[in-house]
Symmetry: C2
Subunit: 453 residues, 2 copies
């Protein structure tokens, strides 16, 4: 360990500068003006992998932004680890709220501030630097490693599934690791053991064949906006339970150990309310707040529109009303089945005075549960605890990371979701930052994890 | 009557040409590019009044489009009639659906096609030509007459109430006549005996202090769109009855004679449904369709919006949700009281997980009921029956004509609402037209009415 410790200490500054260089690319995947920056950032990612000592470094062009792969396969008989990360970043607006320019990294209070610092360039670089440190110090790795970096995560990874299908053999691995989530708190490591799935739908209600005068027709002709409000309101009880028959039918209960862990998490609901600026939460009765987000399916209205929304008033009874809906799914719920369930229910309850159309919106994915008994999970918990000096907390995540479901489905591997972001890292917001002590401790913990696997 | 009959017959073509000249002004009050055309049309209106033999013809500038007045006050001891009309017109889009240009009048099938032909240039010109015919033939009128023409009716008459207040004395009259509505059918005259009132409000529901990720927060934090749908849905029962306590408290029942008239009206509900492209109507149980529109208050959603409405999906749990609401009021309901009632009710039923703000939107007005026993009403019924050869039907109107409430409130006069438009005149739609036989018979009926009053 002496060579390794020396290397880590002496390279600390250079490794932070490497991160800063990576953060200077404005690799915003949703911005068409950043296409070239994304190409450059992909080439820079390849260079980082090359310099780390990885082999078969390849930049794959796609209809969108490139996918970058690399590998090191010289540990026969040892497991193969697939490491995923993304070099694209969220947009930066509102730019005026940034204290320093989002692509000009700034050091302050043991943090580095820049877009992508935590999500996800900083976290994926931790894996590259951990591999580099091991190869530099030992000349070899304790496991086989495959890197898979994409540049379209923030826009829904449109080209990744096809790539996974086409490269199943080269990507074959025993486990995957994704570091694109958060610690519970500074020094409190966390592993995410479940992700919710997602289905998106759009509903259109049509009434009269044209917009009508609400004075001349109001009270006689069904108003699609009103009928839509009635339909949507009927989908949940006053206790927040979804009323669609069969909605909860396939839901698996949460593992008792996990449930116990969640109950003991130091979760401060008052602080949660304060951060969001609300007086109380609302959701399915009979479940704690964390259970509702991490282990219960839900139905949300993501958009609602129709009629007049300009200044002043307009006495219109509109011809149509629209809503975008999404369902978050949990263990054992199938997106196709659930989409049909909602579709059928809406059709069944629509009154004859209006017509309904329900269409799937592209995107979404299956829910994911990583079994607690899976050995790499046990190993990772122990290693992180040793590195950070605090118990590794098992948490859930209400959002979806479709690549994790794709890894399970297309490559047949479970994923370790080990996050090194801090809750106040402002990912997706102005003044994103990465906590540097966590960065360095995390790199050491990853090296330990590779050895222990 | 011989001179008069001769005059009407010999001037028929000239009077239709006069109408065509009036229709050539593109006097669209909602279009800022038409400001000069409205000025010209006001001057032309004044010229028509002058040529008819009226006196004190005046074009009054306002912050918007001019108001034009004229009078003839040489019948001492006889009643004074205030005739209201508007020379501004609706927009013409979609222009592509017009068979001929909207401001190039075209004769076809006993009709003249142009924007404003029925609403309202054609109808107001009938009054001017009736007065002109009487003055030309007899040198005098059987009543005193005041004309009041405005150029902002289609944009809510923003400058009319102040004008009425400022000119109460000059406008003092015994009754008002407004011809800006429809016959029941060709040859079937109709008098409108009630108009609904109107109150407009805007509702904003606020939840979290920013848009949230619906995966990370969905199921835990109240979604303002969902809460708004629940609030709005709760305002009506499944039978279409408004559930706001006190909503129907001040509603006066419809006069038995009127109710009987309505029951006997040759109303074809199937044709109504077909025209609107709907399978069934929806509204307050226990009332006929016409009763619901003409004599029952209602609550409508005129606009609803929040969250994402672009292409594809966006998993957002939005910070706010918005609705524009309006209430149509009937006899004895006060706009102020009803606005407060709705406001108080919404505040009372809003759950603590969201905040609500309810604001009045400018506009609206009191409901109007013209008493059946009012002598001019009886006279007008009889005269119209004699002129058209069919019973004069008494109808209601679900929309509001604020000027009628203003005449009652500011000038203390009732209004005869005598419409000469035909139901298929396409007012507010492409290919608006005026039925010329009705135009000419209507002019004769107005002359008879002036004599009979």
């Amino acid at each position: 360990m002496d060579i390794l410790a020396d290397y880590l200490a002496s390279s600390r500054n250079a490794r932070e500068q490497q991160l800063a260089a990576y953060l200077r690319f404005p690799s915003i995947s949703s911005d068409p003006n950043c296409r070239e920056a994304l190409q450059e950032c992909a080439r820079f990612s390849a260079q980082l992998l090359q310099e780390a000592g990885l082999q078969e470094v390849t930049v794959w062009q796609t209809p969108g932004n490139p996918i970058v792969t690399a590998s090191w396969r010289q540990a026969p008989g040892r497991p193969t680890v697939l490491i995923y990360g993304h070099y694209d970043v969220q947009p930066v607006d509102p730019l005026s709220l940034w204290i320093s320019p989002p692509f000009a990294p700034r050091w302050q209070n043991e943090r580095i501030f820049a877009r992508g610092a935590t999500d996800d360039k900083g976290q994926l670089l931790m894996h590259i630097q951990a591999v580099a440190a091991l190869l530099h110090s030992n000349g070899s790795l304790p496991v086989n490693i495959i890197f898979l970096l994409e540049g379209e995560e923030e826009i829904g990874s449109p080209n990744l599934p096809a790539f996974l299908e086409a490269h199943r053999q080269e990507l074959a691995a025993d486990l995957a690791i994704v570091s694109d989530s958060s610690m519970w708190a500074e020094q409190h490591p966390a592993i995410t053991t479940s992700l919710r799935g997602l289905v998106l739908l759009e509903v259109t209600l049509s009434g009269p064949n044209r917009d009508l005068h609400s004075g001349t027709y109001g009270g006689a002709v069904a108003n699609p906006l009103e009928m839509l409000a009635r339909l949507l309101a009927s989908l949940k009880s006053d206790e927040g339970t979804v009323t669609i028959p069969g909605f909860y039918e396939h839901v698996l209960p949460v593992d008792a150990t996990i449930r116990k862990q969640w109950q003991n998490l130091p979760f401060d609901e008052n602080k949660y309310l304060e951060t969001l600026g609300i007086d109380s939460t609302w959701g399915e009765a009979g479940y704690s707040l964390l259970e509702r987000i991490w282990s219960r399916p839900t139905l949300e209205i993501n958009g609602l529109w129709g009629g007049y929304n300009g200044p002043g008033g307009k006495t219109v009874l509109p011809a149509t009303a629209h809503a975008k809906l999404s369902m978050r799914l949990v263990a054992n719920q199938d997106p196709e089945t659930m989409a049909e369930l909602l579709q059928r229910h809406l059709l069944a309850i629509t009154p004859s005075c209006v017509r309904i159309e329900v269409q799937r919106i592209a995107g979404g994915g299956h829910p994911v549960t990583i079994p607690l008994q899976w050995p790499p999970m046990q190993t990772a918990r122990r290693v992180l605890e040793e590195s950070f000096g605090h118990e590794t907390l098992l948490v859930g995540e209400g959002a979806s990371i479709p690549v994790v479901a794709d890894f399970a489905k297309l490559l047949g591997v479970h994923t370790l979701l080990i996050g090194f972001g801090l809750p106040d890292a402002n990912t997706h917001s102005p003044n994103e930052s990465l906590h540097l002590p966590t960065f360095h401790t995390g790199i050491a913990s990853l090296m330990a994890l590779f050895k222990a696997l």
